[in-house]
């Protein structure tokens, strides 16, 4: 069963990637406001991207840079 010597390391490596992602999410503070996180998806009445406060929305228009 030489294939196991291949499949098991591949599987363990995938598990390690998952574990790394989990630790990243912990350190990143992803789990600090779980009830708020669950509810915020329900409130997007405007259905459009959030625009950062300082930048004007016009800055996001790529077309102006490319069609000159």
């Amino acid at each position: 069963m030489s294939v196991l010597a291949f499949l098991i390391p591949v599987t363990l490596a995938m598990g390690a990637i998952g574990l790394a992602a989990f630790f990243w999410s912990l350190r990143n503070g992803q789990y600090e406001d779980l009830s708020g996180d669950a509810e915020r998806i329900l409130f997007d009445a405007q259905d459009r991207p959030l625009i950062p406060k300082r930048a004007s929305p016009r800055r996001d228009t790529i077309s102006k840079e490319t069609t000159t």
Binding site: V3, R40, D44, P57
Partner: protein, 550 residues
């Protein structure tokens, strides 16, 4: 739609289609006299169509929209329509092959219409064509909404969507020509596999780039499910399809593994295709569209995250339960069996979480067929994961393996869970996406729901009966220690169930046709609405649905 691309994006898209045309021409030239040559022509025509569309619009009107102000939804819309088209085609194929098992004459004596060639058209068509396109379309929607950010660029999403469909077309047309590498759910040959890797890498980077642009600090749990789907399927696909082409001028290739080694690799892939293609991504759909439609946050968000990590770490070890009582070492079988039983915990956590979210909103489930689709999907998810853990236990598997019970189990999951959650999500998505007031006909949604549910139940019960009868007949011994029944005896016993199965499938595909019709009519005939919310503010029953909290 092309008019919303910038000149630079049109240029990039034209370069990609040109490269595709060159690749198609090379395949057609190199593979003369081989099915690969025919595939070359398909690739050439596919890219030429898009090249023609782009060329016609190359110097046409340029209507750049303000990209900071809206999500990019065109690929989602097209993806949903393509998914519905695949649903009708591939489920129709399913009814045909089911009918062939009951009445073999329905093959009509052609080579391409044999069971062995049509069956993978059905399986790949529903899994990749219907399921895959629905996953791609909804992931584009969800990743933008939950990140509160628009996708970067407008070429990559189209490349992913159409590139994936080219893979599906090559796969389905190849099966009809007899091209297959005989690995279940991974039948396409080497060039299709390589193409899918390219598409998938673009898909993954597109997802990560969108998440990197997010304005919302938290990554909603649905995104984790979609990311696991994309990442794990990539690794599984690459490892399982390691093969050496017999020649660069033909479709035939030989797997890098042989015998039981190949079987182990195949089911390491095959079971995780079920786990990460047919479960993980659809759980992402469930965790987004169910709370949105019910207008309630998920019952326990903490539990949804726990079950995500549980599924991620457990599922990958379960594949060897497909190889009980084979040449596979005993401990590997036991390992797969153990993890399969453990999987029940995160699976039921998700199913229970979905149902508990609806607890307190049952009047909505009663009135709103869309939400009912999602509710029944969660029930079938719970049922089929319980059944799966049960069937993975070695002695149970001794009875169920190689019988129709397996087919019944797969379809409880595929029809009851995957297809129902997808249809529910599509009905939740379509009116909001096209800015329509409501679906064209809420009665049609009801019809679709009951046809789908009846079809699933008939199908699954027929296969349970057929499978257990088969399994018992094969292990019945006479007094002299010989088998009591011949294989033909068991075939005769299965016939009525095969008729019932074909009928159940017919009901299911009828529902899908009604659904596709309803979506098209919604787009064409329902008046526009100024968007107030991401999804319709009233359900079909016209009850007030805006939460007081807003």
């Amino acid at each position: 739609m092309i008019s919303s691309l910038t000149q630079a994006e049109r240029g990039a898209a034209m370069l990609i289609t040109l490269a595709g045309m060159v690749a198609g021409l090379a395949m057609a030239a190199a593979g003369q006299g081989d099915p690969m040559g025919a595939h070359g022509w398909i690739v050439l025509i596919f890219f030429a169509l898009f090249f023609g569309l782009l060329a016609r619009a190359a110097y046409g009107t340029d209507e750049p929209e303000d990209r900071g102000l809206a999500y990019y939804d065109d690929p989602t819309k097209v993806g949903i329509l393509i998914a519905l088209a695949w649903a009708v085609i591939a489920m129709g194929m399913g009814v045909w092959v089911a009918a062939q098992l009951a009445w073999p004459d329905l093959r009509f004596d052609a080579a391409w219409s044999g069971f062995g060639r049509l069956r993978p058209v059905h399986t790949s068509g529903v899994i990749f064509g219907f399921g895959g396109n629905a996953l791609i379309a909804t992931s584009f929607h969800i990743m933008q909404r939950t990140s509160r950010a628009r996708m970067p660029g407008q070429v990559a999403p189209w490349f992913v969507l159409f590139g994936f469909n080219l893979f599906c077309i090559i796969a389905a047309s190849g099966y009809l020509m007899g091209v297959t590498q005989s690995k279940e759910y991974a039948e396409p040959e080497w060039y299709a596999d390589i193409w899918l890797v390219i598409v998938w890498v673009v898909y993954f980077t597109l997802y990560i780039r969108t998440l990197a642009r997010r304005r919302e600090p938290h990554i909603y749990v649905a995104n984790w499910y979609y990311l696991a789907f994309i990442l794990v399927v990539a690794v599984l696909h690459i490892v399982n399809n390691l093969a050496v082409p017999a020649a660069w001028t033909g479709a035939k290739s030989y797997s890098a593994f042989s015998g039981v080694q190949d079987a182990m690799t195949q089911w390491w892939y095959g079971h995780n295709a079920v786990a990460f293609f047919l479960t993980s991504g659809f759980l992402g759909m469930l965790y987004y569209f169910l709370p949105k439609r019910a207008e309630r946050p998920i019952y326990s968000y903490r539990l949804s995250i726990l079950s995500f990590w549980g599924i991620t770490f457990f599922y990958i070890w379960a594949g060897s339960h497909h190889l009980h009582y084979t040449a596979l070492p005993h401990w590997v079988q036991t390992l797969g069996m153990t993890f399969s039983v453990m999987l029940l915990v995160p699976s039921w956590a998700s199913a229970g979480n979905a149902l508990m979210t609806l607890n307190g909103a049952w009047q909505k489930v009663r009135d709103d067929a869309t939400l009912r689709f999602m509710m029944v999907a969660a029930v079938f998810y719970g049922l089929s994961t319980f059944e799966g853990s049960f069937m993975a236990i070695r002695p149970v598997n001794g009875l169920s393996h190689y019988t129709d019970w397996t087919i019944g189990h797969v379809h409880a999951g595929a029809m009851g869970w995957v297809a129902l959650i997808t249809f529910g999500s599509i009905y939740a998505l379509v009116p909001g996406l096209w800015r329509r007031e409501t679906m064209y006909s809420w009665k049609a949604v009801e019809w679709h729901f009951w046809l789908a549910l009846a079809g699933t139940v008939i199908y699954v019960f027929a296969m349970w009966n057929s499978g257990i009868i088969q399994g018992l007949m094969w292990r019945t011994y006479g007094e002299s220690g010989t088998l009591r029944y011949s294989f033909t005896d068991s075939l005769v016993a299965m016939h009525p169930y095969y008729v019932a199965r074909a009928f159940g499938g017919l009901l299911f595909v009828t529902g899908a046709i009604i659904g596709a019709w309803n979506v098209v009519m919604t787009i064409r005939h329902v008046p526009h609405q100024v968007p107030a919310r991401d999804h319709p503010t009233t359900s079909e029953t016209m009850e007030p649905a805006l939460p007081a909290a807003e």
